[in-house]
């Protein structure tokens, strides 16, 4: 038996880790025509850009890698308020797309997070664990995205392929 899913390792994304007061982060994002998500562990999306709310005073901004320079230019403010932190982490994460009718079955092997739609709705995004590693899980379309530290990307890809091949 194998699961009806497609596993795809994605190219790098432009990622900016943002920490600080919501009011100040929101003001910076307004320069990119982006808003903060309404609820914890959800995303706010605008086109191919997204903001994930991952912790108190902690967000992750994501966009295609080709837009990295534009993101940084849009967030630039001199001086930056000392209470907030913006860190470019584009090369820190490996993203996997797990899509298909049985994507949730594969995710259930990988992670203990309750991914039922009533708990983890559309635009859900949260840090949790996958295969014992700290991982970012995002619900999208007919499946999920899973991100781990990039140094653990090959191992995670191997784990996912083993789940599917079972």
């Amino acid at each position: 038996m194998s699961y009806a899913v497609t596993i795809r390792r994605q190219d790098l994304s432009a990622l900016v880790d943002m920490r600080g007061e919501a009011r100040q982060i929101a003001a910076l994002l307004a320069g990119l025509d982006l808003a903060l998500p309404d609820a914890p562990n959800t995303a706010a999306e605008a086109g191919d850009r997204a903001v994930y709310w991952l912790g108190p005073e902690h967000w992750l901004l994501r966009a295609p890698i080709a837009e990295e320079d534009a993101l940084l230019a849009g967030l630039h403010k001199d001086p930056l308020p000392p209470e907030i932190s913006l860190v470019l982490v584009s090369d820190a994460y490996a993203f996997f797309e797990i899509s298909g009718a049985e994507a949730a079955e594969v995710m259930a092997v990988a992670s203990p997070l309750d991914l039922h739609a009533s708990v983890f709705p559309a635009k859900g995004s949260a840090f949790t664990e996958a295969f014992g590693l700290k991982a970012l899980v995002v619900r999208r379309g007919d499946g999920f995205e899973l991100a781990v530290d990039r140094s653990l990307g090959d191992m995670t890809e191997d784990y996912l392929n083993r789940v599917v091949a079972f």
Binding site: P56, P112, L113, T128, E129
Partner: protein, 87 residues
């Protein structure tokens, strides 16, 4: 397996957390006024009760916050979860 309710993330598996140990009593205002025995007790002798213990857990594989709960060390029941501890 415990299911610990994080104030930000909601109920999550114990495996997402790191146990931070019991909440410790406040440091005495004037340690010099204590006897040597009391000072050594404060520094090195932990309580290890059978029953409810106030303890901290770090949501390392989640939102990264510290959570304080009261857990019964005999039954593993979580008696209350009063949220983040930012001290």
């Amino acid at each position: 397996m415990l299911k610990i309710t994080c104030p930000f993330c909601g109920p999550r598996n114990e495996s997402e957390f790191v146990h931070g140990g019991p909440e410790k009593p406040r440091r005495p205002e004037d340690p010099a006024a204590l006897s040597d025995t009391d000072w050594i007790d404060h520094l090195t002798v932990p309580d290890n009760p059978m029953g409810p213990v106030r303890e901290k857990w770090w949501h390392l594989r989640g939102c990264g916050q510290w959570v304080t709960i009261t857990r019964d060390t005999v039954s593993h029941d979580i008696l209350d979860e009063d949220g983040h501890d930012r001290r």
